[in-house]
Symmetry: C2
Subunit: 354 residues, 2 copies
């Protein structure tokens, strides 16, 4: 990391609703930001030459900062992952992921088909030793700052061991990307007095309480803690995590929509519209999903980043920065050093199963 080689990030130029334009525009924006932040990154771009090269010229991206690989295939956003696995060998996504496996790049970023990205990343890169299932992790905004949440949808159902591994990987992610020194961890649960959640949640909590993470583990949290930022790492199965994530995103949109509706309806507010502008801007900026774009599939032998399908240039540039941070802070190495701990934890768990 300390040598003068640039970090190389592989980019699937063909994935996403506005690809390849938004992807190449995102690279351009990222390069401007990299320069401002004295960050040295080179992008390894995979895509259809006829479509991508004109855009690279249009956005004036210097050949110092990219290499291009022509690919013929393309995975549609509605393609089944199983089909992508069978037939996607020539696609930009496949080739981009493969470049990470072959150490030509340190990370891959795509706005394409989520299921295909997850399936191909697992197959091509492989899961880290000691990790049973990778999870989708992302940064989310809260009142006091930001937190990490995982799994956001990679695994519909999870057992105790998966949840414990998610906690360990999320902790590493919070260290690497949010730069927290001792991130606090909570397991997402429901607060019904009758039933304190599902069995696997109680078991995972028990294991964490008795682990090296004991001082960081804050027990169960509820989904209204997301807005408060009660912990740095929210751990859940992929179904609940996805439900919570989209409820937060939907409610943020609802509130901004209502704000606009009420301003329109209020005579006084319309008069005072000029006063609202900075507040509306600040609100939108804080809650803009583009800011938090770049969910990482953690637990693989390579860094694989999912950008939102509808990401614009700004959103895509943020996902590229997540990839850079994960590489630069050696997220994979950090998770690797935690693996023995995970093994110990799962041994404990297996014992308690007997």
């Amino acid at each position: 990391m300390e040598n003068n080689q640039p970090v190389v990030i592989a980019v699937d130029a063909m994935g996403g609703d506005h690809a390849p334009d938004s992807v190449i525009a995102g690279i351009k924006l990222a390069l401007d930001n990299n320069k401002a932040d004295h960050i040295d990154v080179k992008y390894l771009i995979f895509g259809d030459e006829e479509k991508v090269m004109p855009l690279i010229k249009k956005y004036g991206i210097s050949s110092d900062y990219y290499s291009f690989v022509h690919t013929t295939g393309y995975i549609a956003s509605d393609e089944k992952p199983s089909v992508a696995v069978r037939t996607g060998r020539d696609s930009s996504l496949w080739k981009a992921i493969e470049s990470v496996k072959h150490n030509e790049a340190s990370a891959i970023v795509s706005s394409g088909n989520t299921g295909a990205l997850m399936a191909l990343s697992k197959i091509i890169l492989g899961t880290m030793p000691g990790i049973h299932r990778p999870a989708l992790a992302s940064i989310m905004p809260n009142r006091i700052g930001e937190h990490v949440m995982l799994d956001l949808g990679a695994n519909t159902e999870c057992d105790t061991r998966n949840l414990v591994e998610f906690a360990v990987m999320g902790e590493a992610y919070a260290r690497a990307v949010l730069k927290r020194e001792k991130p606090s961890i909570g397991i997402l649960n429901i607060g019904s007095e009758e039933i304190k959640g599902r069995e696997e949640l109680r078991e995972a909590a028990q294991i964490l309480r008795e682990s090296d993470y004991a001082s960081q583990f804050k027990g169960f949290v509820e989904s209204d803690d997301l807005g408060k930022g009660s912990v740095d790492v929210f751990v859940s199965d992929g179904f609940s995590g996805n439900i919570a994530l989209k409820a937060v995103e939907g409610t943020a949109r609802l509130m901004i929509g209502l704000l606009k509706d009420f301003i329109k309806q209020s005579f006084l507010a319309k008069l005072g519209a000029v006063f609202f502008i900075p507040v509306m801007k600040a609100m939108k900026k804080k809650m803009n999903p583009g800011n938090y774009n770049g969910a990482m599939l953690v637990g693989l032998k390579g860094i694989s980043i999912k950008s939102h399908g509808g990401a614009d240039a700004y959103g895509f540039s943020r996902a590229l920065r997540v990839a850079y941070n994960a590489v630069q802070n050696d997220l994979r190495g950090y998770i690797a050093t935690q693996i023995e701990k995970i093994k110990l934890l799962t041994d404990t768990e297996q014992k308690s199963d007997k």
Copy 2:
């Protein structure tokens, strides 16, 4: 319903963070609103005479509109439901629920211990024939109006049959409380391209597609549809429903909090604070959980309403109105007429299991 007898609603005066004051103040407010709306309701109040009677006097509630039953016991908000079931026989909550069973009241409302309310309601009132598990249902706000969501936490895990029954009961609830003629129904799921949700969700969707509800059933919805109000009835297991509900509530609070923060930070906005006041008020009113207070445990042989533990007088008065609407619109009778359909549905399901 068409005679001149008032609707009698049983009230547990001892449950809730601010009880009994907020409860009695809520009754006072409800009576004022009842008068304005030409609604005839009498409250059957259960509680400790020494604590409650001075408040009834303080708020000047006429004896025309209430009866009082002195009770000695009380179920603490942190009491385990199993303990409440064993030892709560003398409590205000138990006695209030029992009054519904004995037809002295048509509904019971309590701000007390949720788990105890659910457990005692199930035991004392019993589940309706044809319903396997009651569910907690409530109204929630969205951009275009309101919708019903269930289960909000009564059942941590649900099978296909439970979900189908929730759909039928939610539909009835939307008719009775939201006055929708043909409520649309959606099953909450996640949108991952890889896995289209859990098996029981797919099975429940299939059953609804082939049922009398086919034209009302809109398939799967995601939790960002909650803010949009994409359907009138959102169906989910109690774990996911609780996660979604609290994520919505937490994000609404987050957004109002951020709005305040940004107004404080913005010089222009501070200058224009007077212009914000009507907008902030409108936002708060729209998203105020008090407006939507009163979750109903649907599927029982009696109407049992859970008011939020922290409900103030206004919130409690809203829960009392939910109880009235459920009685007046014969929610129980409507669900009962749907039971045969439910039975047919579950028969179909059982066949498909073979």
